[in-house]
Symmetry: C2
Subunit: 345 residues, 2 copies
């Protein structure tokens, strides 16, 4: 059926349409520059040969891969996969492909990937600030002056384009919600995977407590891992306590899920015995029992905004720019996992 053994090239089309390859190229990229008659012959020839452009050749020539690289700490986490979803969707609409790098930060083969990824992507979307500024600048993408947009997390003092949520205010809001319910003993499960989000959130947590003149007790602060396991571990330590907090602010929803689930196993009920507020509002949050009170993060929007920012830089003129900072607002979603403390009722 196909008269060419190999993938047809622009030369093949040119031969069939009886024009030069230059004309074919022009017909495809700026149709108004060729006469109507030739354009039709070329269109027919494209169909006949089944030609599709060879992106490798085009990229080489144009010095643009039409591809962005997205680095995510943990694809399996619904929080990140939603972002990825948004990014892939929007990038595709603007003609860009998305290469995925998982756990770029912690991977010992980073050097290999350097080599591997270089010159393959036009820009980088980084949802992971476990890299410090120095190693970031060592990445060939950045060294090659490729634009980079950082999201979900901040790197202090880095002059980078940034898309974030208002982590500090959000944590403050969540904590205030617990305070307003009457809680005086409030603990938290922090995380360690994304350092600055964590300190921002923790700062918001402490700010709310301080403003309410409530104590910040170190033995009521646990380290989580942004996963269910961390919540479970924190719960076990919580159970061993003599004096327990009556409310907990968890660094994300998975942590809250693990925490509540482990407590339930030991007969401790949420929200009767302890109130829990999560962070993110992942899809299942409202279908849990108790439905989870949480700070909804505009994560789909975060993906969209970050993508738009990066692609605007890529498609725009190569002028000197001052880094942009976009802060998106989170929203408190009150459900059933928070209630007034028992002894205050």
């Amino acid at each position: 059926m196909n008269e060419f053994k190999k993938t047809p090239t622009i030369q093949d089309v040119a031969r069939v349409a009886e024009v030069s390859s230059a004309t074919v190229s022009r017909a495809l990229t700026s149709p108004e520059r060729v006469s109507e008659a030739t354009r039709e012959r070329i269109t027919a020839a494209v169909l006949e040969t089944g030609y599709t452009v060879n992106q490798m050749a085009r990229s080489l020539r144009l010095r643009a891969a039409k591809t962005i690289l997205i680095a995510i700490p943990n694809i399996g986490n619904p929080f990140y996969s939603t972002i990825l979803d948004a990014v892939v969707q929007d990038a595709a609409e603007r003609g860009y492909g998305v290469l995925v790098a998982n756990r770029l930060g912690g991977d010992p083969t980073l050097g290999l990937k350097d080599y591997f990824y270089s010159n393959r992507a036009d820009g980088l979307l980084l949802f992971d600030a476990t890299l410090d500024l120095e190693s970031l600048q060592d990445l060939p993408l950045v060294r090659g002056n490729r634009p980079l947009v950082l999201s979900c997390d901040d790197i202090p003092d880095a002059p980078l384009d940034l898309v974030m949520t208002d982590n500090r205010d959000a944590a403050d809001t969540a904590t205030r919600h617990l305070i307003e319910l009457g809680h005086k003993k409030i603990g938290t499960v922090r995380s360690r995977t994304t350092p600055n989000v964590v300190s921002e959130r923790h700062a918001g947590f402490e700010r709310a407590l301080m403003r309410a003149d409530l104590p910040i007790r170190q033995d009521w602060i646990w380290q989580g891992d942004h996963a269910i396991a961390g919540g479970i571990a924190a719960a076990e330590s919580w159970l061993a306590l003599n004096e327990r907090p009556t409310a907990m602010f968890c660094g994300n929803d998975e942590t809250a899920i693990g925490f509540i689930s482990r407590l339930r196993q030991s007969g401790v009920d949420c929200p009767r015995d302890v109130s829990v507020v999560g962070f993110d509002d992942i899809a299942v949050a409202e279908h849990l029992l108790p439905a989870l009170t949480t700070m909804r993060q505009p994560r789909y929007d975060m993906g969209k905004v970050a993508t738009a920012l990066l692609l605007d830089i890529l498609d725009g003129p190569a002028t000197e720019r001052t880094p942009a900072r976009r802060i998106l607002k989170s929203e408190l979603i009150i459900r059933a996992s928070t209630a007034p403390p028992r002894d205050c009722n």
Copy 2:
């Protein structure tokens, strides 16, 4: 610091090391072919210039992009994001990048993507059988004789490499579990997103019922959407029924979550009033209340096996092969959402 304005090329390295670009290329790809002295000079020059290979140029020359394309119906779904995780991990280890295409099937801009993706990926990992065989063969990847591995779903009569789970047996097992608990009135929420998985699962469901001489009632079969919303809709319809099934087999965990959650709102308890078994065993399944009985799908393995299969084809000799079929086993995880029916107690 960097003496080259633009990204350094192999020519720049050659100039610094005072050799030809051919020698640099050889030093990098087959070091044993250059003398030790030159090799050292070249290594030094690579460091000095900060050279990294331009993959576009290499791919053009070698006709291999060192990239695979993965098509997934819904990235946001934890089921798929786990698979993606496995794929990215394993592909990176073997020096391949992963391009993500979301909802390749339903997207009206498929034609655009054709154009766009062609010649960019060496092979395709397809986790979505909403495409029929015909449109599949129209994809340039396939037409260009690029290997393709189909996973999660089957396309009947297609001579394709395949990685699947034992959907029919798994559905049979799940249904038998309900039967063994004493249930006689059993319904199901099917899905429509992945046609053949659905019919396989449904076939397993019906097989189990028939073998137990139980009725297959059409009004006890709902259409879901592999998402929470579908479970909710089915639950609402279930509530309106005069004679209700006492047990439900749900097409996936999200469906089960929505179903149970909606029923609870109306005071119907799982497992007291109705038993529910899910499918997949997503991460939260064991932390739900009730903890979800479900068929665990080896989805991480599915990603790994599919990747290994595709990459073996790509890296192996270009011989004629007969398509491989790998079937992975699912496992029944009994938790708290299933129990004997009330009236049988």
